[in-house]
Protein backbone atom coordinates (compact mmCIF):
# COMPACT_ATOMS: atom_id res chain seq x y z
CA UNK A 1 0.00 0.00 0.00
CA UNK A 2 2.90 2.33 0.74
CA UNK A 3 4.42 1.55 -2.66
CA UNK A 4 1.03 2.08 -4.26
CA UNK A 5 0.71 5.52 -2.71
CA UNK A 6 4.26 6.42 -3.72
CA UNK A 7 3.63 5.42 -7.31
CA UNK A 8 0.34 7.30 -7.46
CA UNK A 9 1.51 10.59 -6.08
CA UNK A 10 4.95 11.74 -7.22
CA UNK A 11 5.54 15.36 -6.31
CA UNK A 12 8.20 17.18 -8.23
CA UNK A 13 10.58 19.91 -7.31
CA UNK A 14 12.20 21.62 -10.19
CA UNK A 15 15.77 22.85 -9.84
CA UNK A 16 17.54 24.88 -12.46
CA UNK A 17 21.21 24.00 -12.11
CA UNK A 18 22.45 26.52 -14.62
CA UNK A 19 20.52 25.69 -17.76
CA UNK A 20 19.39 27.98 -20.56
CA UNK A 21 15.64 27.66 -19.63
CA UNK A 22 14.89 25.50 -22.67
CA UNK A 23 14.38 22.33 -20.65
CA UNK A 24 12.47 24.23 -17.95
CA UNK A 25 9.90 25.33 -20.49
CA UNK A 26 9.56 21.77 -21.79
CA UNK A 27 8.96 20.46 -18.25
CA UNK A 28 6.15 22.97 -17.83
CA UNK A 29 4.76 21.87 -21.19
CA UNK A 30 4.57 18.32 -19.87
CA UNK A 31 2.29 19.63 -17.10
CA UNK A 32 0.10 21.56 -19.54
CA UNK A 33 -3.33 20.35 -20.77
CA UNK A 34 -2.05 18.38 -23.78
CA UNK A 35 -0.10 15.85 -21.71
CA UNK A 36 -1.55 16.73 -18.28
CA UNK A 37 0.86 15.11 -15.85
CA UNK A 38 -1.71 15.57 -13.06
CA UNK A 39 -3.37 12.42 -14.37
CA UNK A 40 -0.54 10.51 -12.70
CA UNK A 41 -0.75 12.59 -9.54
CA UNK A 42 2.21 14.74 -10.48
CA UNK A 43 2.25 18.06 -8.69
CA UNK A 44 4.86 20.79 -8.78
CA UNK A 45 5.65 21.81 -5.21
CA UNK A 46 7.71 24.72 -4.00
CA UNK A 47 9.54 23.33 -1.01
CA UNK A 48 12.07 20.46 -1.22
CA UNK A 49 10.64 19.10 2.05
CA UNK A 50 7.41 18.13 0.27
CA UNK A 51 8.95 16.68 -2.86
CA UNK A 52 9.75 13.12 -3.94
CA UNK A 53 11.39 13.63 -7.31
CA UNK A 54 13.95 16.31 -8.01
CA UNK A 55 14.16 17.43 -11.61
CA UNK A 56 17.51 18.98 -12.54
CA UNK A 57 18.17 20.87 -15.72
CA UNK A 58 21.54 22.07 -16.83
CA UNK A 59 25.21 21.30 -16.21
CA UNK A 60 26.06 22.10 -12.62
CA UNK A 61 27.96 25.35 -12.49
CA UNK A 62 30.59 25.90 -9.82
CA UNK A 63 28.42 28.35 -7.92
CA UNK A 64 25.40 26.08 -8.12
CA UNK A 65 27.13 23.02 -6.65
CA UNK A 66 26.43 23.89 -3.00
CA UNK A 67 22.80 24.72 -3.76
CA UNK A 68 22.27 21.42 -5.58
CA UNK A 69 23.76 19.35 -2.78
CA UNK A 70 21.81 21.25 -0.13
CA UNK A 71 18.52 20.91 -1.98
CA UNK A 72 19.14 17.22 -2.49
CA UNK A 73 19.84 16.71 1.19
CA UNK A 74 16.69 18.56 2.19
CA UNK A 75 14.40 16.18 0.31
CA UNK A 76 13.13 13.54 2.75
CA UNK A 77 13.80 9.90 1.88
CA UNK A 78 12.85 8.12 -0.40
CA UNK A 79 13.98 10.53 -3.08
CA UNK A 80 14.78 10.31 -6.77
CA UNK A 81 16.67 12.52 -9.15
CA UNK A 82 15.72 12.93 -12.79
CA UNK A 83 18.01 14.81 -15.14
CA UNK A 84 16.38 16.56 -18.07
CA UNK A 85 18.45 17.59 -21.04
CA UNK A 86 21.82 16.78 -22.54
CA UNK A 87 23.66 19.37 -20.46
CA UNK A 88 22.58 17.78 -17.22
CA UNK A 89 23.33 14.26 -18.40
CA UNK A 90 26.93 14.68 -19.44
CA UNK A 91 27.77 18.34 -19.78
CA UNK A 92 26.51 18.64 -23.33
CA UNK A 93 28.04 21.54 -25.20
CA UNK A 94 29.61 22.76 -21.96
CA UNK A 95 31.65 19.59 -21.58
CA UNK A 96 35.20 20.21 -20.30
CA UNK A 97 34.38 23.83 -19.64
CA UNK A 98 36.28 25.48 -16.79
CA UNK A 99 33.07 26.66 -15.11
CA UNK A 100 30.82 23.59 -15.15
CA UNK A 101 31.07 20.23 -13.42
CA UNK A 102 30.00 18.14 -16.46
CA UNK A 103 26.61 16.89 -15.44
CA UNK A 104 24.54 16.35 -12.35
CA UNK A 105 25.84 12.85 -11.66
CA UNK A 106 29.21 14.22 -10.61
CA UNK A 107 27.48 15.92 -7.68
CA UNK A 108 24.50 13.78 -6.63
CA UNK A 109 23.31 10.27 -7.57
CA UNK A 110 20.98 10.26 -10.56
CA UNK A 111 18.16 7.78 -11.26
CA UNK A 112 17.14 8.69 -14.78
CA UNK A 113 18.60 10.56 -17.72
CA UNK A 114 16.35 12.18 -20.30
CA UNK A 115 18.62 13.31 -23.18
CA UNK A 116 17.65 15.88 -25.77
CA UNK A 117 18.36 19.52 -26.30
CA UNK A 118 15.73 20.18 -25.12
CA UNK A 119 13.87 16.85 -24.89
CA UNK A 120 10.33 16.86 -26.20
CA UNK A 121 7.67 17.16 -23.48
CA UNK A 122 6.61 13.63 -24.43
CA UNK A 123 10.08 12.41 -23.52
CA UNK A 124 9.95 14.18 -20.14
CA UNK A 125 6.55 12.69 -19.43
CA UNK A 126 7.68 9.27 -20.61
CA UNK A 127 10.70 9.47 -18.35
CA UNK A 128 8.57 10.16 -15.29
CA UNK A 129 6.22 7.32 -16.25
CA UNK A 130 9.24 5.00 -16.62
CA UNK A 131 10.51 5.99 -13.20
CA UNK A 132 7.11 5.22 -11.67
CA UNK A 133 7.10 1.86 -13.46
CA UNK A 134 10.54 1.15 -12.01
CA UNK A 135 9.25 2.07 -8.57
CA UNK A 136 6.29 -0.27 -8.72
CA UNK A 137 7.94 -3.27 -10.38
CA UNK A 138 11.56 -2.71 -9.35
CA UNK A 139 12.83 -2.76 -12.91
CA UNK A 140 13.04 -0.22 -15.67
CA UNK A 141 10.89 -1.25 -18.65
CA UNK A 142 13.06 -2.18 -21.62
CA UNK A 143 11.48 -0.21 -24.44
CA UNK A 144 12.94 0.56 -27.81
CA UNK A 145 10.93 3.74 -28.13
CA UNK A 146 9.08 2.75 -31.29
CA UNK A 147 5.76 3.99 -29.92
CA UNK A 148 7.02 7.52 -29.74
Amino acid sequence: MVTWSRVKSPWLIHMNTGSCNGCDIEILTALAPKLDAERYGVKLVGSPRHADIMICTGPVTDKMKIAVVKTYEQIPNPKFVVVVGSCGSSGGIYKNSYITLDGVDNVIPVDLYIPGCPPKPEAVFFGIAMLLEKLSSGKLPDLKGEIL
Binding site: S90, Y113, I114, C117, A129
Partner: protein
Protein backbone atom coordinates in the same frame (compact mmCIF):
# COMPACT_ATOMS: atom_id res chain seq x y z
CA UNK B 1 -17.10 38.15 -17.18
CA UNK B 2 -15.97 36.80 -20.53
CA UNK B 3 -13.71 34.28 -18.85
CA UNK B 4 -16.61 32.68 -16.95
CA UNK B 5 -18.44 32.01 -20.21
CA UNK B 6 -15.26 30.59 -21.69
CA UNK B 7 -14.63 28.35 -18.67
CA UNK B 8 -18.16 27.00 -18.60
CA UNK B 9 -17.88 26.33 -22.33
CA UNK B 10 -14.64 24.47 -21.60
CA UNK B 11 -16.37 22.44 -18.89
CA UNK B 12 -18.73 20.89 -21.41
CA UNK B 13 -16.22 20.27 -24.19
CA UNK B 14 -14.01 17.22 -24.43
CA UNK B 15 -10.57 17.57 -22.83
CA UNK B 16 -7.65 17.97 -25.22
CA UNK B 17 -5.48 15.64 -23.15
CA UNK B 18 -3.89 12.70 -24.93
CA UNK B 19 -3.71 9.46 -22.93
CA UNK B 20 -0.02 9.48 -23.66
CA UNK B 21 1.97 6.47 -22.48
CA UNK B 22 -0.88 4.21 -23.61
CA UNK B 23 -1.42 5.85 -26.99
CA UNK B 24 0.44 8.58 -28.83
CA UNK B 25 -2.44 9.34 -31.18
CA UNK B 26 -3.16 13.04 -31.43
CA UNK B 27 0.28 14.20 -30.41
CA UNK B 28 2.02 16.66 -32.64
CA UNK B 29 5.06 14.99 -34.17
CA UNK B 30 6.72 16.98 -36.94
CA UNK B 31 7.80 15.13 -40.06
CA UNK B 32 11.33 16.50 -39.90
CA UNK B 33 11.82 16.07 -36.16
CA UNK B 34 15.45 15.35 -35.37
CA UNK B 35 15.46 12.41 -33.00
CA UNK B 36 17.53 9.33 -32.31
CA UNK B 37 20.43 8.49 -34.68
CA UNK B 38 20.48 5.51 -36.97
CA UNK B 39 23.84 4.27 -38.22
CA UNK B 40 24.04 1.89 -41.16
CA UNK B 41 27.23 -0.05 -40.55
CA UNK B 42 27.34 -1.52 -44.06
CA UNK B 43 27.49 1.84 -45.83
CA UNK B 44 29.64 3.71 -43.33
CA UNK B 45 33.24 4.11 -44.49
CA UNK B 46 34.67 5.39 -41.23
CA UNK B 47 35.80 8.67 -42.77
CA UNK B 48 35.69 10.60 -39.44
CA UNK B 49 33.91 13.58 -41.00
CA UNK B 50 31.07 13.45 -38.46
CA UNK B 51 33.66 13.22 -35.70
CA UNK B 52 35.30 16.42 -36.90
CA UNK B 53 32.14 18.41 -37.47
CA UNK B 54 30.33 17.56 -34.22
CA UNK B 55 29.90 20.79 -32.23
CA UNK B 56 29.46 19.14 -28.86
CA UNK B 57 32.19 16.49 -29.28
CA UNK B 58 29.99 13.49 -28.54
CA UNK B 59 31.08 11.32 -31.48
CA UNK B 60 33.98 9.03 -30.69
CA UNK B 61 35.80 7.03 -33.35
CA UNK B 62 36.73 3.63 -32.02
CA UNK B 63 39.11 1.27 -33.76
CA UNK B 64 37.50 -1.87 -35.15
CA UNK B 65 38.98 -4.92 -33.45
CA UNK B 66 38.82 -8.54 -34.63
CA UNK B 67 35.86 -9.54 -32.49
CA UNK B 68 33.82 -6.62 -33.90
CA UNK B 69 34.43 -7.66 -37.50
CA UNK B 70 31.15 -9.56 -37.83
CA UNK B 71 29.33 -6.21 -37.61
CA UNK B 72 31.60 -4.40 -40.01
CA UNK B 73 32.00 -6.40 -43.22
CA UNK B 74 33.93 -3.71 -45.09
CA UNK B 75 37.59 -4.68 -44.59
CA UNK B 76 38.91 -1.23 -45.62
CA UNK B 77 37.05 0.38 -42.74
CA UNK B 78 39.38 1.02 -39.79
CA UNK B 79 37.21 3.11 -37.49
CA UNK B 80 33.53 3.27 -36.56
CA UNK B 81 31.66 6.15 -34.89
CA UNK B 82 30.00 5.82 -31.48
CA UNK B 83 27.50 8.55 -30.69
CA UNK B 84 26.90 9.38 -27.03
CA UNK B 85 23.30 10.56 -27.03
CA UNK B 86 23.57 11.91 -23.50
CA UNK B 87 25.45 14.98 -24.74
CA UNK B 88 24.03 15.28 -28.22
CA UNK B 89 22.19 18.47 -29.12
CA UNK B 90 20.53 16.94 -32.21
CA UNK B 91 21.71 19.66 -34.57
CA UNK B 92 21.95 17.33 -37.57
CA UNK B 93 25.44 18.44 -38.66
CA UNK B 94 26.70 14.84 -38.79
CA UNK B 95 23.78 13.86 -41.01
CA UNK B 96 24.46 16.74 -43.39
CA UNK B 97 28.16 16.06 -43.67
CA UNK B 98 27.99 12.29 -44.13
CA UNK B 99 29.16 11.52 -47.69
CA UNK B 100 27.48 8.12 -47.98
CA UNK B 101 24.21 8.81 -46.08
CA UNK B 102 25.08 6.15 -43.53
CA UNK B 103 24.23 8.31 -40.53
CA UNK B 104 20.62 9.42 -40.29
CA UNK B 105 18.47 11.12 -37.68
CA UNK B 106 15.17 9.28 -37.33
CA UNK B 107 12.15 11.04 -35.92
CA UNK B 108 11.85 8.79 -32.91
CA UNK B 109 12.44 10.41 -29.54
CA UNK B 110 15.36 9.17 -27.44
CA UNK B 111 14.04 6.84 -24.77
CA UNK B 112 15.08 7.89 -21.27
CA UNK B 113 17.34 5.51 -19.42
CA UNK B 114 18.88 5.09 -15.99
CA UNK B 115 22.29 4.22 -17.40
CA UNK B 116 24.36 6.43 -19.62
CA UNK B 117 25.97 3.41 -21.28
CA UNK B 118 22.59 2.54 -22.79
CA UNK B 119 22.38 5.94 -24.45
CA UNK B 120 24.86 5.12 -27.17
CA UNK B 121 24.42 4.50 -30.89
CA UNK B 122 27.00 2.18 -32.38
Amino acid sequence: MKIFIELIKNFFTKPVTVDFPITSKGLNKPERLRGRHYLDNDICTGCKRCYRVCPSFVIEMIEITENMRHLHKNMKKKFTPVINLDGCIFCGACEDVCPTDALNLTNNIVVPSDNREKLKVK
